[in-house]
Symmetry: D2
Subunit: 143 residues, 4 copies
């Protein structure tokens, strides 16, 4: 599958998730085993002090890892994810880049980095990882 059609496939899955539509999450790059998601800051995403809420950080880590897994497995479901909050996540744009560490028959391991982009400067705000289980069930993908 070409990079372009991978992005389209993931955008189609992305568009079915109401939370992703609400957030305006976009798939901005994809190749087998690699996915980039981009989120434009909005007030609604803030925690107390106006930084990106941990829930949004988790959403970016988990979704980018899930989409990376979907580039090689048909459907997957997250069973575990973890997030390291390295620096306050503030910026106009947030970019999550996920890659597959290992795609097995029973499990897919993926990792992601989340960058906060402010005035053209990119800061590593968080890292994370997700463990996903392939599923035949089209009704239960991670999206």
């Amino acid at each position: 599958m070409s990079e372009q059609s991978l992005v389209e496939k993931l955008e189609e899955i992305n568009s079915r998730a109401a939370f992703n539509r609400w957030a305006g999450l976009r798939v901005t790059a994809a190749e087998p085993g690699l996915v980039e998601l981009t989120l434009a800051w909005r007030e609604d995403f803030g925690q107390y002090n106006g930084f990106l809420h941990a829930g949004m950080i988790g959403a970016l880590i988990d979704t980018s890892c899930g989409f990376a897994a979907v580039t090689t497995n048909e459907w997957v479901m997250a069973s575990h994810f973890s997030v390291n909050c390295l620096a306050p996540a503030r910026g106009e744009t947030f970019v999550a880049r996920a890659r597959i560490l290992k795609a097995g028959r029973k499990q897919v391991f993926a990792a992601a980095e989340l960058f906060a982009v402010s005035e053209g400067r990119s800061t590593l705000a968080a890292t994370g990882q997700t463990l996903l289980v392939p599923t035949q069930d089209r009704a239960a993908p991670q999206a």
Copy 2:
């Protein structure tokens, strides 16, 4: 501090986080070291198949743990959190219960359970944990 005034203190912090206001997250119980948050389901919270999005699950785990820490420390900031997705999170209401495992001077360890309540039946949908760092900086609480 009485249980009632603890709930009020946490609700005041809760009300300052735009994401929490958008989600309609409520603090429904609190005592030193223990916090319960409740979230009523809305379409916007869904992933592809209508289950609660991993981002919302992460938000409930991380926020309930952060609020549990706030019952004993003035201000905290999450540095790491992880989530186990035990069962599909679907229901009319979601209840997160967090407790402090250990509150140290430099670090607070907290753990949470997330229950999905559907037609009066409660299912353990996720468990998680958060590691928080106390901070003097009022501008940087976990909320």
Copy 3:
């Protein structure tokens, strides 16, 4: 299976792991979904300052969770484990208690607590969790 025969079954698996024999790890209680392991302190287990080495803590968390999974599934293999180091782990004896959070067909989630016992006083030194995958392969259990 009676509690006694469960302990015997787990001790038989335990005895096949060279590391467990070296450490003198013992299965001191077991029932479906619950396992207790006990380790007597030895100098060899120490890190720089004489506390229990993180590797030994990880071994106790991972092995107790794996054995808890074996009380309900035939064979399992750990795919992820994590450890919270709550307090310096020093004592004459260490006791790990693991329980299954959820035993699914494709995955088993387990959690454990590690207590350091010193002069009859027990301290919660670490908590952890393990995600295990059931396997038919008798050659690849978690032990």
Copy 4:
């Protein structure tokens, strides 16, 4: 500090940990923020099926991350570590490479990869991460 003197400093710390001496763990490379540890296989390290025991995997992940932190902070103590078991860890030699993700004043985030080397072929067997807290206390380093 030169790379050579960093290796010597870490080997000196390494030599004080009884577990590390028992295992024969060696510091084979170091520069600011990066550390490589090497372990030669021995029967004692095995779990049931002769693969490297999860405790040894955890020891390599945690110790390499701790040593990476020591290249930039005087003393550190691990508060959390996690391990992904990607593939059966079997080989004649195991090599852990850790790097600092972020070294803050209150916390150091590090990540490691563990390779199993067999007949000259290197396989990524595990990945992991560790969260460490700097401490003034010379009596409490992570080693």
